[in-house]
C-alpha cells in the first residue's frame, strides 16, 4: 500500500528524504553502525555517530520514518501528529548540537491549558502566573498561594532529574571507577538539595500523585487539574504510589528556558524527526524505509550486522536498537543466545499500554460554551475530569480490562497555533485518551470495540462542546493495538516501558543493562526503554551514541548537560 510521505503541508517544499527504497535483490553492505528503527531516538543516535565520522545506516520497517514522532496526512489536507503530539522534553543540548533549528525544526509554545467542571465552569491554566493564581483562587484562595509552593517543590525535583538526563546511569553494584564516580555525582546532586529537600525527594519517588497533591491543595478540582500529568502514559491510578514521579517526567521539559512549558513542533511532530533526519543526512548518514529488520546477527558473542525480513543483510560491528526492550531481546535476538535470566527480565518488563489516541479532522472550530468564543485557552490542552475520584474510576475500568467509560482526555487543537496543519478555518484535533488497555478483557480489539471506544470519547467531548460531533470530517482511532502494529510499541506503551522506579535510572530497562549495552558485544539499546525514558526527549538516543563512541575510543560528539546555575 502506498503511504503518503509525512511532510510539511504549509511549505510544500519538502520532497522525499528517505534515500533508500526497498531493495529487491539480495545485497550485503558494510557500515560502521546500524540503527534499527527510525524513531526520534534511533535517528538521534545515528546523527551523533555520523557526526563522529561513522558510516551509519538507519533501518525503518515503515514506509515513513519518525516512529511515534510523525506527521501523517491521513485525511487530505490535514496533517496529523498522530502519535506524540506536543514537544517540551526534547533536550535543548541535542537541539543545538544537531542544529535542528537550521534543519527546519521550530518549536512554538502554546498558551496554557484548561479543565472543565461538570457544572459548567472552567479552571484556566493561564500562562500569566498572576492570572493563573487568580483563577485558582476562584476555587480556593489558599490553594492559589499553595500553587507557588507546589511549583517550587516540583522545580526542585526537576532540577535534580534534569541533571541526570544526559548521563549514563551508574551501576550501583559495580565498583568500577566510572560507576563510583557517577554514584558520587548523583550523591552530590542530592546533597545540593539540602537535607529537607533530600527527604522530600525520597518521598516524592514513592508517593501517589493524589497524596502528593493533598499536601498542597484542598480543592478537588484544583487537584484534578494537576493530577493528569501524574498518570499520562502510565498504567497506574492517581492513588497508586509512584505516580508523583510520572508527574515530574511531564514537568521537566522546557521551551526556551520556561521550565514545565510545552510547545508544538511547527508542522506536527514529524518536524522533529524530519529535522533530526536532515541533520543526519547532512553528515552522510543513510536512512532506509520499508526495511523491517528480522534479526540482529551475532557471532561468538559479537554483533556482526542485521538481516531484514526480505533476506537482505547489512554488516556492521555496531548495532543499536531503538526498539523497546521486549522487541529487542525477544524479537531481534534469538532466545537461545540469551541467558534464561535475561529472557525472564525481558518477559517481565512492564510495558503496559494504557492510552489511545483519536486524531480528528474538523470542518471548523468547535465551540466550548464554558470558555466562550475567542478564548485564549482554546489554543491550550483541555481536560474534562474534575475530581480525583473520576480519575481513579477511569483506572478501575482499565484494571478490569476495558477502556475507561469516563476517560481522561488531553485534547488539543494544534491548528489554533500552527497554521500548517489544516486548511484555513479548519482544524486538527488531537485527543489523547487514557485509560485504554492493550487487550479487551484478555482478547484483541474488534472493530465494534473501536467504534464503541470512539463513542465514549466523543460523548465526553460533546458534553462540553455540543457542536463538536457534526464538525468531524475524519477520525483516526488508535488503540494500543494500532500503536503496536503500526509503530511497533509493544502493548502500545508510549514510553517503551512503565516509568516506575523499578524501571528507572539504573533499573531501566533492567538491572545490569542500564548502560545502553546489550548482551552481545557491539549491541546497544538507544530507545525510550533506556534511561531516561519516554517522551520526545532524544536523550536515550544521545546517551547510547556516547557509549558507542566511548567503546570505539572515539571523541564524543554528544553534548553534556548545560549547567543551570
Amino acid at each position: 500500500m502506498y503511504e503518503r510521505e509525512a511532510r510539511c503541508a504549509f511549505s510544500r517544499r519538502q520532497t522525499s528524504l528517505a534515500t533508500g527504497q526497498a531493495v529487491g535483490s539480495r545485497v550485503t553492505t558494510r557500515y560502521d553502525a546500524i540503527v534499527v528503527g527510525a524513531g526520534h531516538n534511533g535517528l538521534t543516535s545515528a546523527a551523533f555517530l555520523a557526526k563522529a565520522g561513522l558510516k551509519v545506516l538507519v533501518l525503518e520497517k515503515n514506509p515513513y520514518f519518525g516512529g511515534a514522532t510523525v506527521s501523517r496526512e491521513l485525511h487530505a489536507g490535514w496533517i496529523y501528529s498522530n502519535c506524540s503530539y506536543v514537544c517540551g522534553l526534547l533536550r535543548p543540548e541535542i537541539y543545538r548540537s544537531l542544529d535542528l533549528g537550521r534543519h527546519g525544526l521550530q518549536v512554538v509554545p502554546y498558551g496554557g491549558g484548561v479543565g472543565f467542571t461538570r457544572d459548567g465552569d472552567v479552571l484556566g491554566g493561564y500562562v500569566d502566573k498572576e492570572v493563573k493564581r487568580r483563577e485558582i483562587a476562584r476555587y480556593s484562595s489558599k490553594d492559589s498561594d499553595a500553587y507557588l509552593r507546589y511549583g517550587r517543590d516540583v522545580m526542585r525535583q526537576c532540577r535534580l532529574v534534569r541533571s541526570l538526563l544526559m548521563r549514563t546511569p551508574p551501576d550501583p553494584t559495580s565498583l568500577k571507577p566510572r560507576d563510583l564516580k557517577e554514584m558520587l555525582y548523583i550523591g552530590g546532586e542530592f546533597g545540593k538539595l539540602g537535607e529537607a529537600a533530600i527527604y522530600d525527594t525520597l518521598r516524592f519517588y514513592t508517593m501517589s500523585i493524589a497524596d502528593y497533591l493533598s499536601e498542597y491543595f484542598e480543592n478537588d478540582m484544583v487537584k484534578a487539574n494537576f493530577a493528569g500529568s501524574g498518570i499520562i502514559g502510565t498504567a497506574l491510578g492517581v492513588y497508586s504510589p509512584g505516580t508523583a514521579y510520572v508527574l515530574l517526567h511531564h514537568y521537566m521539559g522546557d521551551v526556551d528556558g520556561q521550565m514545565g512549558a510545552w510547545g508544538f513542533a511547527r508542522g506536527g511532530m514529524g518536524a522533529v524527526s524530519q529535522a533530526i533526519a536532515r541533520s543526519l543526512q547532512s553528515m552522510g548518514g543513510e536512512i532506509r524505509v520499508n526495511s523491517p529488520v528480522a534479526q540482529i546477527v551475532t557471532r561468538g558473542g559479537k554483533v556482526t550486522g542485521v538481516a531484514l525480513d526480505n533476506g537482505d543483510e547489512f554488516e556492521a560491528p555496531v548495532v543499536l536498537s531503538a526498539l523497546d526492550p521486549k522487541r529487542t531481546f525477544l524479537g531481534l535476538l534469538s532466545e537461545q543466545s540469551l541467558d534464561a535470566s535475561l529472557v525472564k527480565r525481558a518477559r517481565n518488563f512492564k510495558i503496559r499500554g494504557s492510552s489511545g489516541k483519536i486524531n480528528i479532522a474538523l470542518d471548523g472550530l468547535p465551540s466550548f460554551p464554558a470558555l466562550g468564543p475567542n478564548h485564549p485557552l482554546l489554543a491550550g490542552d483541555m481536560h474534562f475530569l474534575d475530581s480525583l475520584e473520576r480519575f481513579e474510576k477511569a483506572y478501575d475500568d482499565f484494571k478490569r480490562g476495558t477502556w475507561s467509560k469516563d476517560p481522561y482526555l488531553d485534547l488539543l487543537m494544534p491548528t489554533m497555533t500552527d497554521p500548517t496543519m489544516a486548511p484555513p478555518g479548519k482544524h486538527f484535533m488531537s485527543v489523547f485518551v487514557q485509560y485504554v488497555p492493550a487487550l479487551i478483557e484478555g482478547r484483541a480489539w474488534t472493530a465494534d470495540d473501536r467504534e464503541a471506544f470512539k463513542k465514549t470519547v466523543f460523548a465526553q467531548i460533546s458534553r462540553y462542546s455540543p457542536d463538536f460531533e457534526k464538525l468531524v470530517l475524519h477520525a483516526e482511532v488508535r488503540t494500543p493495538q494500532e500503536l503496536e502494529s503500526e509503530v511497533g510499541l509493544t502493548e502500545g506503551n508510549i514510553f517503551q516501558g512503565e516509568l516506575t522506579f523499578d524501571q528507572l535510572l539504573f533499573n531501566r530497562p533492567f538491572p545490569g543493562f542500564a548502560q545502553y549495552r546489550g548482551p552481545a558485544k557491539g549491541l546497544y539499546l538507544c530507545g525510550s526503554g533506556s534511561h531516561p525514558g519516554g517522551g520526545v526527549m532524544a536523550a536515550p538516543g544521545a546517551n547510547a551514541a556516547r557509549e558507542v563512541l566511548l567503546d570505539l575510543r572515539r571523541p564524543t560528539t554528544v553534548p553534556g548537560s548545560w549547567s543551570d546555575d
Binding site: Y126, E130, V131, S141, K142, S144, D145, R149, R159
Partner: protein
Amino acid sequence: MRSPRAHYLQVVKHTPFHTRTHAANQLNLWHRWRDYTVSDAYFDVALEYTALRNACAVFDISPMTKHRISGPDALPFLNRLVTRDVSKISEGRVGYCVWCDDRGQVIDDGTIFHLGQNDYRLCSQERQLDWLVRSALGFDVQIREETAEIAAIALQGPTSAAVLRAMGISCIESLTPFSISVVDLAGAPLMISRTGFTGDLGYELWVAPTHAEQLWDALFEAGALYGIKPMGTHALEMARIEAGFIQAGVDFLPADRAIRTDRTRSPFELDLTWLVDFNKDHFTGRAALLFERTRGPRYRLVRLDVEGNKPAKDAYIYDDKRRVVGAVTSSLWSPMCKASIALASVEVTRGSPSDTLWAEIYYQKELKWSRANARCRVVSEAFYTPARRKLTPPPNI
C-alpha cells in the same frame, strides 16, 4: 457585570487610585506589581526624589499584600510566626518583623499592625496566605487576605506632617513613629500610621477603595502649598537604599520560593539580629537559629560606602587578597549623601567595619565600558536618617 471567570481579560488591574495616578503620570511609565500596575515615574525621577527629601511625595502602595489576622489566638499565632516578640507591639502600634521557615531562613519581612484586641494586619511584599494558613494549625485564628479591600498610600517627606495638619488632622501631633490613629475622612474611617519605606518623616494612609480618589484629592489640595508630588517606584527605590532597608527578592531570596535551597539567608545574615527574640515562646525556625547562633552565620549583610562616584551595580565584592567574598544586592548614587552606596551580602568572615573591601564595578560612558576597583568602607548605620523621622510632634517643614 462581567462574570468572575472573565478576570483574565484584564491581566493587570488598576489600583483604587488609578484615575489619579494615570492623570498624573506624564511619562506614562508603568511597572507591574503582581496584580496591579503602578507608576515607575510620573514626571522626573530626580525631581520626584527631591520632592520626597525636600517637601513630600505620595506613593501608591495599594498592591502591597495585606492579611488580616484575628481571633482568640491571634497573638500566640503571630508570636509563633515571626521572630520578634509581638506581645510588645501594643494596640495602636506597628512593628517591623521577619518570619522564617523551619531552617531559620527568612521567608519575608513585613509590618504587623495591631489594630485592636485580637485583631492584626500583616503587610508584606510577597503573598503569604499559604504559609499563614499552614502556620495556623492548632491556633484559633481567622486569616484573610484583604489586599483588594484597602487602598493605601504613602505620604513621605519633611512636609508630610504639614500636609496632614492642613487637612485638619490633629492627631498627628501626638502620633509617634510606628503608631496608628484613625480619623474621619468624609464619613469614612481613614487610618494613619507613622510608617514608611523611605527612612524619612512620613505616614501611610489606609482607606476603603471607595474613598481612595477622595483621599488623593484631599492630599493634593492640602499639599499644594507644601510641594506635594506623586512619586514612582524609581524614586522610592532610591530612598529605600539610602534608608538601608532590605527588600525581598532583591537583597534576599524569600526562603519559601527558593528552588536552590542554599541561596537563602537567616535574619542574622541580614543584619536583623535585633528582631530575633529567643526569650519568648517557640517560633518557627527557633531551633535552627539557636544552632546558627552557636555555629555562626555564613554571610552578613553590609552597608558599603563605595569610593568614587560610580554606582556599584551588581558588583562583585573582593577582600584584600583579591578573593571574591560576596556581591552587591542594591546600589545607588545617593543624592543626599553624595556618595556611592550599596548593600552587599558577603561571607561572614569579611565585612566587619575594620575590613577593607573592594567592589569591581563595570560602567559605561557613551558606550565605552570601563572597569573600576573601588575601595569600600563598611558603615554600621543607615546611610541617611534625618532627625525629623523620629520627632514627635513632627516638625512642620
